[in-house]
Every structure is written in C-alpha cells, then in structure tokens.
C-alpha cells in the first residue's frame, strides 16, 4: 500500500511524500519545503502505540494525524493527502501489524 502523505518525526518539520507499507514494514520518504529529502523505515512490530490525534498541536497541515510511537522512543506523525477515509484504514493496519489490536 502506497499513500501520499504529509509526515514528520516529532518534533520536526513536516515533509510531503509517501508512506509505503509492505509485509509489516513501513518506509516514509518526504521532502521538506527547504528541499531536503528524508527517509525513515521501521518495522510495525516495534510500534508500542498507534493513535489518531484529532485536535491539538500534533495535527499536521491542519488535519487529524496518525501518531506512531516506536519502542526506541521515536515518534512519527502521518497525515494522508486528499484521501477520504484513509487515515482510519492506516490506523487499523498499523494496529493489526504491530499486534496492538487482535487481528
């Protein structure tokens, strides 16, 4: 599954790019407004929390945002672009693959 997203590693600046989710692994690629490109990869099994932030400062681009907490302490915020209903679907997939919810 490949989705166009705005994402950031919290705290950090927002990047526009993509999320690729395959076989329990997630890869984020994006470019900042400055032009710098960044990539982040992790296994869904190493996530210790998956939640949606609908209000407050964690919103990315003024949108509800999926927050992923890695066991290493890294925190990722992901907000799909122009895809109605994808946020909920992503939250469900991450939860299932990280075993945070029963399949």
């Amino acid at each position: 599954m490949i989705v166009a997203v705005i994402w950031s590693e919290v705290p950090g600046s927002a990047l526009a790019g993509r999320l690729e989710l395959t076989d329990g692994d997630a890869t984020l690629w994006g470019r900042e407004r400055s032009g710098d490109e960044r990539t982040a990869s992790f296994s869904c099994h190493d996530l210790i929390d998956v939640r949606i932030e609908r209000f407050g400062p964690s919103r990315l681009g003024g949108r509800p945002t999926l927050i992923l907490e890695h066991r290493s302490g890294r925190l990722f915020g992901i907000s799909p672009i122009d895809s109605v209903g994808v946020l909920g679907e992503l939250a469900e997939r991450f939860s299932l693959q990280s075993k945070l919810l029963p399949a």
């Binding site: 993509r18 609908r54 919103r59 003024g62 509800p64 672009i81 122009d82 895809s83 109605v84």
Partner: protein, 587 residues
C-alpha cells in the same frame, strides 16, 4: 473369345524415383471389366465410344476427389488395355506434382520402389508442355531420367494432359498394352476424350471438397460466434478468441493486440507455442507489423516473415516462426484491435492459404463485434459505478457542508454567548474555550472533507475554478510549485467531462507526491477542435513505462478516460520527468 483382364490391379510406380506425395489405391477386381467387355465385343469404335460415355457419366457423378482419380486411371487402363496407369495431379504452382495415383503395380513392389515421383523426366515434359505424348519405348526418349530400382519394366507409353478451359489439372500416364502393341492414335483420342470428362469431374470434386471444407469451417465459426456472444468478461473473451482461432487455423501461435494510448498497442491475449510472457508487451504502432496493419486497416498474409521488412526479426527468430497472417478487428468502422497468427502447423511450408485468411477475417469480424460489445458493457458498468459514486459523494459533501457544518457553526455561536455568560468563572471560561477550539477544528475537518469528497466549486463554478482551488491547496500542503494555466472558453463543458478531467488532474497530482519526487508541476488545459485536453507535466524522476505492473494507478486512470471516449498518453523515462496528456472528446 474372352481375354482375361490384368490380374489384381494394384499400384504402379512411375518412370522416375524422386520424392512425392503418395496416394495409393487398391482397386477391387470387378467380375467383368470394361476392357473385358470391349475385347469381348471385338472392341468396335462404337462400343469403345459407348464405354467412354458411360465411364464419363460415372466419373462426373463421383464427388470424392480420391474416388474420381482412382476410377479415372482404372477406366483409362481398361479402355486402352494398358497394364499400368497413373495420374499425376499438378499443384497450384503448376510446376510439380502434388499427388500421384497409380494402378497396376503390386503394393509390395511399390514399397520396394519407395517414394513416388514429383514430375521430372517424361512426366515433367507433360507438365511443361500440355500435349499428348505417345512413345514406342520411353526408355529411349532423351527426356527419360530412367527408372528407380525394383520398378517394373515399361516401354510403350501414352501421356495425355487432363485439361479444362486452358487449365492443366494433371496428366494421365498409360504404359504397356496387354497385347504388347504400341498405343494407337485411337487410344490417344479416347483417353483425350476421357481426360476432358475427367477434368470436369476433378474440378467438381475439388469444388465440392472446398465447399464442404468451408461449410465445416463456417459451422465451427458459428459455434465460436455463439460462444463469443455469450461472454462479456473482456479478459475471458480475448482469451477465448485467440484459443479458438488457433484451433480453427491450426496455427502455432495467435496473438491479439489492443490499442494502448494513441501511439501504442499492447498484446492483450496470446495462445500457442511461445505465448508465455507475450501478454502485456507494449509496442509503438510504427515498430511492429501488427501496429502497421492496425493503422492500414487491411489484412495481410506473409509467406516468409524473414523477407518482410516490417516484421521484427528478433521476435521471429526467437519464436522460430516462418509465415503469418494479420487481420484487423473492425467494429462500427473503428479498428479496435489486431489479430495475428503464425505458422500453420498442418502445412509443410508453414504457410496459410487464402481460405485461412478469409476464415480469419470472418472470425475477426465476429470477434471485433463481441469485443466491442464487451467493452461497451464494461464501460457502461464503470460509468454507472462512477456516476453513482460521484452522486453519492456530492450528496455526502452537501450534507456535511450544509447540515453538519451549519450545526457546528451554530454551536460555535452558542459557545461564544456562553463564554460571555460564564466570564466570571475562570474554570468555566477555560472549559468553554476548549470546547470552542474543538468545534473550530471539527468544522475545518468537515469542510475539508466535503471538498475532498466533491468540491462544490466544480458544480457551481466549473472545472477551472475547482482546479485553481485544488492546485492552491495542493501546493500549500506539499510545497510543490504548481503552474496552472487554463486556455478554455468561458462556456461550461458537460458535467461528465469536467468531472473526468478534474479527477484525472487530482490523481496525477497525488501520483506526483507519491512517486515523482518533483519540485514543480505545470498543468495546462486547452481546447482542441473536437476535444478538451489536460496536460500535466512534472520535473520528477520519471519511470520506465515498459516495466510490468501498475503501481502508479495508470490503468484506473486510463479506464476512467476511456469511459468518456477519451485517451490517456504518457511520455516518460528514467530521469526525464513525466508528461500526462488526457484528451476527452466534446460531443
């Protein structure tokens, strides 16, 4: 006095021993043969003529070519008292014998002689110069090339062409009269008359066989046509077409290609040897034989693929192909595809015949209609689904915007009044402020969701206004610069066209974020004489369009454009950026 006819008429070998197509016929001995009758009545000219007429009538009533040939040589031998008789049937090229039917030689002798002649020596002389030949001793003739081993001894000889309306169908050869004499002029005249009747019989039998064969093929064609008419799943239909045509033609390989964009064709189905891996291959129209025949809209037969400059040498060699036919699939005067068949498995030289080409054309015509209907059905289903989806999206967007949005706005106003009322209590004021913040965020989400579902501007103000808003939002979110230019008249286009173009641009922009790594995108809307086009160009990494798979959602985009009769063209390459041209006809 009764003279015994030749005993056990069987097989005759010829005066040469080169290779040829073997046709054997062992004729049952009849109780009293024509020859016996003739000799029995002292073989008067009237009796021989009567026998000839009866033989002619008997011949022309026969519809099987093999039976005609067998009866002809037997009659000729009996009329003349020849010990041996043979008939060589000349092939379509009129240069050699395609069939050689014999009479008078034991099968065991024939087996020892080996292969039958194809038309050299004395036999070839008659092929090249269709005039009767009468010889006292054929071995002494300068044209003779001698006999193969185990061949019976033959000296006296009569050869007569079997002609009708100037066409030589074959030659009758007679040798060794029973009484040891030479063939007479009267023998020659009788056999010539017999040959004339035989030619009619041969032609009738050939026509009958051809019509029977064609009738059988039409029956099969009807069966296939019925099968095609009941299949509406396009993938299954295309597979059915190539498999059935391959069976009908006895072809080694059959492929079916469909247009892919404006300048390419794509192999959509294949059956036979080497078909694995062909499906999905995309070629420019100008670089393959199929593409060129698709453009010319005329079927073609190629007897030697290596000699045709339009045929791809590499593919032909790799698949070991020799000959082929190409037939365009035309429905409602529109070329919707191209069928090609390679190598007829039942032909020694792999070539297809004119009948094969006719059959393929008839088949392609039916297949084209079936594919056209199937495509229309698929487009109609897709159109209904998309229409229903857009209608549903429009309703939901309106509901969100008008109802939920209004309700949230009312709550906001209420909270403002409440905030003023509870201003004396800091805790209450804080709680109300928090609630206001939640409502503001929810209101933003609801409005954004409504736009994403179906922008109201698209219905109220048209394509250009909706795309201006889309590109502004997109650029603000992603940081990708978007240059949007619309060179369109003020008039609105039909909703179906505006929606299609809007969704195409929307999908293309999403693809740019996901795949292109671009910094800049330009979008140009233009009106052409009978169409409106959107050109979306980015400066990203591009991709290899020949790579299999569809990770870019291009198939769905193409289907959506096809739904309104439009085309999607992609120009890209590794590191060259991507240009997508969507062109939709204005009806």
């Amino acid at each position: 006095m009764d003279v015994e006819p030749p005993s056990c008429p069987t097989i005759m070998a010829s005066a040469e021993g080169d290779g040829g197509v073997v046709s054997r016929r062992t004729l049952k001995r009849r109780p009293r043969t024509l020859y016996a009758q003739l000799v029995g009545v002292a073989a008067t000219p009237a009796a021989r003529l009567q026998a000839l007429v009866e033989a002619g009538m008997s011949l022309t009533s026969e519809l099987s070519l093999d039976a005609v040939l067998g009866r002809l040589i037997q009659t000729a031998a009996e009329l003349t008292g020849a010990k041996y008789a043979a008939l060589g049937v000349i092939d379509a090229s009129h240069t050699k014998l395609e069939r050689f039917v014999t009479h008078g030689v034991e099968e065991s002798t024939h087996a020892m002689i080996g292969s039958l002649p194809t038309g050299r020596g004395i036999l070839g002389l008659l092929i090249n110069d269709a005039r009767p030949i009468r010889l006292h001793d054929l071995t002494e003739d300068p044209h003779s090339v001698g006999f193969p081993a185990h061949h019976p001894e033959m000296r006296s000889f009569l050869g007569v062409p079997v002609m009708l309306r100037g066409t030589n169908y074959g030659n009758l050869y007679l040798s060794e009269k029973e009484d040891g004499s030479d063939f007479s002029e009267e023998d020659q005249e009788l056999v010539t008359l017999l040959a004339g009747q035989a030619a009619i019989a041969i032609e009738n039998a050939r026509l009958y066989e051809a019509s029977t064969r064609w009738s059988r093929r039409l029956e099969t064609l009807n069966e296939v046509g019925n099968a095609l008419a009941t299949e509406t799943d396009i993938a299954l239909l295309l597979d059915l077409i190539v498999r059935r045509l391959r069976e009908l033609l006895s072809a080694k390989l059959v492929t079916l290609s469909l247009p892919h964009g404006a300048d390419e064709i794509r192999i959509a189905a294949a059956a036979g040897e080497g078909s694995e891996g062909l499906i999905g291959n995309v070629h420019l129209l100008d670089e393959t034989k199929s593409g060129r025949v698709f453009q010319r809209r005329r079927s073609e037969r190629v007897d030697s693929l290596v000699d045709d400059p339009e045929v791809t040498v590499e593919g032909t060699r790799r698949l070991g192909l020799h000959a082929g036919i190409w037939v365009p699939m035309i429905a409602h005067d529109r070329t919707i595809g191209i069928i090609s068949a390679a190598d007829k498995l039942t032909a020694v030289d792999h070539r297809f015949s004119d009948d094969d080409l006719r059959l393929a054309e008839t088949f392609a015509s039916r297949a084209a209609t079936a594919v056209d209907i199937s495509e229309r059905v698929a487009r109609d289903i897709l159109r209904r689904v998309v229409d229903a989806q857009e209608t549903e999206r429009r309703r939901l967007a309106r509901e969100l915007h008008d109802e939920t949005g209004q309700a949230l706005t009312s709550i906001l106003l209420g909270l403002k009044s409440l905030e003023e009322t509870v201003a004396t209590s800091p805790e209450a004021e804080l709680a109300v402020a928090g609630l206001r913040e939640l409502v503001v965020a929810t209101l933003q989400d609801v409005r954004r969701l409504a736009v994403e579902l179906r922008p109201k501007a698209l219905d109220d103000f048209g394509l250009v206004a909706a795309l201006e808003r889309l590109t502004d939002t997109y650029s603000g979110q992603t940081g990708i610069t978007v240059d949007f230019e619309a060179a369109l008249p003020d008039d609105r286009f039909p909703p179906e066209i505006e929606t299609t173009l809007y969704r195409m641009v929307q999908e293309a922009l999403t693809n740019v974020v996901k795949h292109a790594r671009a910094r800049r995108v330009s979008i140009l809307l233009t009106q052409r004489p009978n169409s409106v086009a959107a050109v979306i160009e980015d400066d990203g990494t591009g991709f290899d369009p020949t790579e299999p798979g569809d990770g870019f959602g291009l198939t769905a985009m193409r289907e959506r454009v096809n739904m309104v009769g439009g085309t999607l063209t992609i120009e890209t390459g590794q590191g060259t950026g991507t240009t997508i041209v969507v062109e939709v006809p204005i009806r």
